[in-house]
């Protein structure tokens, strides 16, 4: 067998390995019910901030904890614990993705992605500062 062929076989083996681990290590998008059915497993939960419910961020006691309520795509709402500082402009977020897992019956997230209002759909028009005077 040629050395090049051996090298190619090794390469293909690594490629397959990379694909398998990529899929194994991936987390998956889910809703709250799935996350709560599988405690300890990591999920990406997509949802919206519930602006009616209280948001607690008290940096005096813990700058790395922010508690708020999120409603997922099935309108299921849960109190969630984000172990990070409160993101800037959090209230303006349109959609959020929480990355975390259920521990002790509570959803704890390590990471948050926010989608802010798209500049393309927002129909607001502004005027030049001096001209509007």
């Amino acid at each position: 067998m040629k050395k090049t062929h051996i090298a190619l076989i090794v390469v293909i083996a690594i490629l397959i390995g990379a694909m398998i681990t990529a899929i194994n290590d991936s987390s998956s998008y889910a809703d709250f019910s799935e996350a709560f059915e599988n405690p300890g497993e990591e999920f990406h939960v997509v949802g919206k901030l519930d602006k009616e419910k209280e948001m607690v961020y008290d940096p005096m006691t813990n700058p790395d904890l922010f508690v708020f309520h999120m409603t997922d795509i099935n309108n299921e709402e849960h109190k969630v614990f984000l172990h990070k500082s409160k993101p800037q402009d959090f209230e303006r977020s349109e959609q959020i993705v929480l990355i975390g897992k259920v521990e002790n019956g509570e959803f704890h997230a390590n990471e948050i992605l926010m989608k802010c209002p798209s500049k393309y759909t927002d129909g607001e028009i502004s005027e030049k500062a001096q001209a509007s005077l």
């Binding site: 040629k2 050395k3 090049t4 090298a7 190619l8 390469v11 690594i14 490629l15 990379a18 681990t21 990529a22 899929i23 290590d25 991936s26 987390s27 998956s28 998008y29 889910a30 990591e42 999920f43 990406h44 997509v46 961020y57 940096p59 005096m60 006691t61 813990n62 700058p63 790395d64 904890l65 172990h83 990070k84 500082s85 409160k86 800037q88 402009d89 303006r92 993705v97 990355i99 975390g100 897992k101 521990e103 002790n104 704890h108 390590n110 992605l113 989608k115 802010c116 798209s118 500049k119 393309y120 927002d122 129909g123 028009i125 502004s126 005027e127 030049k128 500062a129 001209a131 509007s132």
Partner: protein, 796 residues
């Protein structure tokens, strides 16, 4: 409604240029195609002229868009969307390429620049090469057409009027004004892009992307003519030029992220970053395979594969970032403009073209007569290219989850700890590549004596071992993987330095490759040290125990600093001194101090991390970094209250007897006695009033005593009124509201303003040691690459 003051002519001019650019790229591709098929110089001349007109039209488009942005013609959608009057002029370039249309335009422009150079320099390859470039341009310009074919809008035109793009705006009050152009303002540039890096990084990456067209066009031309080898020689310098440009562009993106995004590092394995790194890796592979091919005549298939794949990956990168498919998974991709289908077709065309041409020709590729020796340079260079391929595949596959989900309906999400996930895979690849980079130089093409090789690397290996031990001990680096990588990266650096000094006698001639490889070694060392030894020195100092939730949630990374309090953070004492607002920016002053010999705190440096307030796109925190030669101290605000909190007033009623005490939040007051004739103190009282004063002694937190005397007054002995007394400094006001003579109880109301809320910030501070090695590595690698290209060009 008739509007006045709209600049209609320039838009028409822009559209004219767009249509001309499209039509003439098509004509040029066709004419060159026919020139190749019929071997007719008339067609060649037509192709040339058409490409000239196409080029001038593209330049015209770019100019028109610049003029529009520069003059702030907000009646145009693109200008309105990406700029406004507040924006400093220096960011006008960032506006240009903030949108999909602008970035396509710049990319198209770079293709034109390269095309013009090639047209004169390719010689007998002109017809097929230019035909490929012309057809790529057809696809590129089609992204900017914005014309409708039945119901499908082809491309997105940057010269569209705002009202045409948004017909619903017609009902807005602003557009009832016929001369609305005088008052309308734009939406503004994303604050993240208002940064000097963003002026140069995007066009450089796009230029890097554009360079992939040259080897691609040559390779396709080679397949087309069934002349599989001759194109490689002229394509080599171009490929290395692309490696240098794209590499610099990608790393500059890292520098941008490090300097002005609060990622907390220079590389976050963000999908957009990944999609630009993936083609770079295959491009490096392609360049090295071409060298093997030129020297040994082997690896023909791989050369074609890597060259075409690089171009397709560049197209794929553009598909990923511009189609909006990354949406949720990336912080900085473009928004969907409804061009997904078109981008996919463009990508598919080049993928299919490459695959078909390679498959058809594969059988005829020249075969090497005998197998290469295991002690040959070409074998290990080939292995290196394969490792690069695997590395780029691993990154590319993981980045493609959103695409895989779209196609197969799965719901894979990237691993939450992206850094860990990618680093675990990429580190072994980096180790192998570094070892190959170190050793392969000493191998000769064909065959080398293993003993000579050993003799050549033994010195570098010993030095690298010493460096590794020194770093391991000095920085307490114990992870065996890190130490292995440290060793191999040091070996890559020292062995290439050795090769340059000893084998090339330190001469610059032919040293390009060695210099680039030295840079690569340094780059890896810098990445390893700055990433693995980075330390978050800000820590949660609260008493709240979060460890009950397990290590996963022990995000002990942020520190709360009250204004003017000094806290210990790592080796420093830090103090948040205050904030300063300046236009859209709020700068926070954070002083870093260290005790001197007398034990007094002395300021070492002051950092000004800031927040950019943008009412439309949200507030953005930007870091501020103190650079030392051996380490950086990086600080960014993670939370700050933008609006001052209003002090709330608490009101409380007390019914007490003489001698009782009233407690407030910050003080207490003792009801000492009654003053039955307080009239002299208060001018407002008349002799007819019956007044009683309640004498209080109040003690504040500093146990300072204050006297208070609220009055209860019966005016004209008929109706009751009160004269309150207060101590404004403490925010306390007390009024005497009534007397119950039977029970001898007195009624008071205490109003207490909450003490003025102290300003505070929550911030994160990270030390990155040795990050300068990384940047030096980048520069050395880029210089070496360009130098290698230059000497290759001079030789030929």
């Amino acid at each position: 409604m008739e509007y006045a003051g709209e600049h209609l002519f320039i838009g028409k001019l822009g559209n004219l240029f767009t249509i001309l650019a499209f039509a003439f790229s098509l004509l040029s591709a066709l004419a060159y195609f026919l020139a190749e098929r019929k071997n007719d110089s008339t067609y060649l001349r037509i192709g040339r002229t058409a490409f000239w007109i196409h080029s001038l039209s593209v330049i015209g488009m770019v100019t028109v868009l610049f003029v529009m942005i520069f003059n702030q013609y907000f009646e145009y959608h693109y200008v309105w969307q990406h700029s406004n009057t507040d924006m400093p002029m220096k960011y006008i370039f960032s506006c240009f390429w903030e949108g999909v249309e602008g970035s396509f335009m710049i990319w198209t422009f770079w293709h034109v620049v390269l095309g013009m150079i090639l047209m004169r320099s390719v010689g007998q390859w002109e017809a097929p090469v230019m035909s490929i470039i012309g057809s790529v341009q057809v696809f590129m310009v089609s992204m900017l057409l914005g014309t409708y074919f039945f119901d499908y809008r082809l491309g997105s035109n940057p010269f569209t009027m705002l009202l045409r793009e948004h017909p619903d705006f017609q009902n807005l009050p602003l557009f009832q004004n016929p001369s609305y152009t005088e008052v309308i303002d734009g939406r503004g540039l994303n604050p993240l892009l208002q940064n000097y890096w963003m002026v140069i990084h995007p066009p450089l990456v796009l230029f890097g992307y554009a360079t992939a067209i040259v080897p691609f066009a040559y390779a396709i031309a080679g397949l087309w003519r069934r002349n599989y080898l001759e194109w490689i020689k002229p394509a080599i310098p171009w490929t290395f030029f692309g490696i240098g440009v794209l590499g610099t562009g990608v790393l500059m993106g890292g520098a941008w992220a490090y300097e002005s995004l609060s990622f907390g590092g220079f590389w976050a394995w963000d999908p957009v970053e990944n999609s630009s790194l993936v083609p770079w890796l295959t491009m490096v592979g392609a360049g090295h395979l071409m060298l093997i091919q030129r020297n040994k005549g082997t690896s023909t298939f791989s050369v074609f594969l890597f060259t075409t794949i690089t171009f397709c990956l560049v197209q794929y990168a553009s598909f990923l970032t511009k189609s909006g498919v990354l949406g949720d998974s990336s912080v900085h991709s473009f928004t969907d403009l409804g061009m997904t289908g078109q981008l996919a077709i463009s990508l598919g065309f080049f993928v299919v073209l490459s695959i078909v041409l390679i498959l058809v020709n594969m059988k005829a590729f020249p075969k090497p007569e005998k197998e290469e020796s295991i002690w040959s340079r070409e074998f290990w260079m080939f292995v290196g290219a394969l490792v690069l391929f695997v590395s780029s595949f691993q990154i590319g596959f993981s980045t493609s989850f959103p695409v895989i989900n779209k196609i197969f309906g799965t719901d894979f999400a990237p691993s939450a700890d992206r850094l860990e996930y990618y680093n675990r895979w990429q580190m072994p690849f980096a180790i192998v590549v570094a070892l190959l980079v170190a050793i392969t130089q000493f191998l000769k093409y064909s065959k080398t004596d293993p003993k000579t090789l050993l003799r050549n690397v033994v010195v570098s290996a010993s030095i690298s071992a010493i460096i590794t031990i020194a770093v391991g001990v000095g920085m307490s680096m114990t992870n065996p993987f890190y130490l292995t990588m440290m060793f191999s990266a040091s070996l890559a650096t020292t062995a290439n330095l050795d090769y340059w000094v000893r084998i090339l006698n330190g001469k610059l001639k032919n040293a390009g490759a060695s210099i680039a490889h030295i840079g690569f070694g340094l780059l890896l060392i810098g990445i390893l040290i700055s990433t693995s030894q980075s330390k978050i020195i800000s820590a949660n100092t609260s008493l709240y125990d979060i460890s009950v939730l397990g290590d996963d949630f022990n995000n002990n990374e942020n520190i709360l600093l009250m204004q003017n309090d000094t806290l210990i953070m790592g080796d420093y004492f830090v103090c948040y001194k205050g904030k300063r607002e300046e236009g859209y920016y709020v700068h926070y002053e954070v002083e870093y101090m260290k005790p001197n010999e007398q034990g007094e705190l002395e300021s070492v440096f002051t950092l000004y991390p800031f927040l950019q307030l943008n009412p439309r796109m949200g507030n953005v925190a930007e870091p501020y970094t103190r650079h030392y030669w051996h380490k950086d101290i990086y600080t960014h605000i993670t939370y700050a209250e933008i609006e001052d909190r209003e002090g709330k007033i608490k009101s409380e009623e007390h019914q007490i007897e003489l001698g009782d005490t009233i407690f407030t939040r910050t003080s207490f007051m003792v009801f000492d006695s009654l003053d039955r004739s307080p009239s002299q103190r208060f001018g407002g009282l008349t002799p007819a009033d019956l007044a009683v004063g309640a004498m209080f002694t109040m003690y504040d937190v500093d146990t300072k005593a204050h006297q208070l005397e609220p009055l209860f007054v019966l005016r004209n002995r008929e109706y009751a009124m009160t004269v309150a007394d207060s101590i404004p400094d403490l925010g306390i006001k007390i009024s005497f509201e009534g007397i119950d003579p039977e029970k001898e109880r007195f009624k008071f109301r205490v109003l207490e303003k909450a003490p003025k809320f102290n300003d505070f910030i929550v911030m994160k501070a990270i030390i990155f040691p040795g990050i300068n090695i990384l940047w030096i590595g980048c520069i050395v690698m880029a210089l070496g690459t360009f130098f290698a290209m230059y000497s290759r060009l001079r030789r030929s």
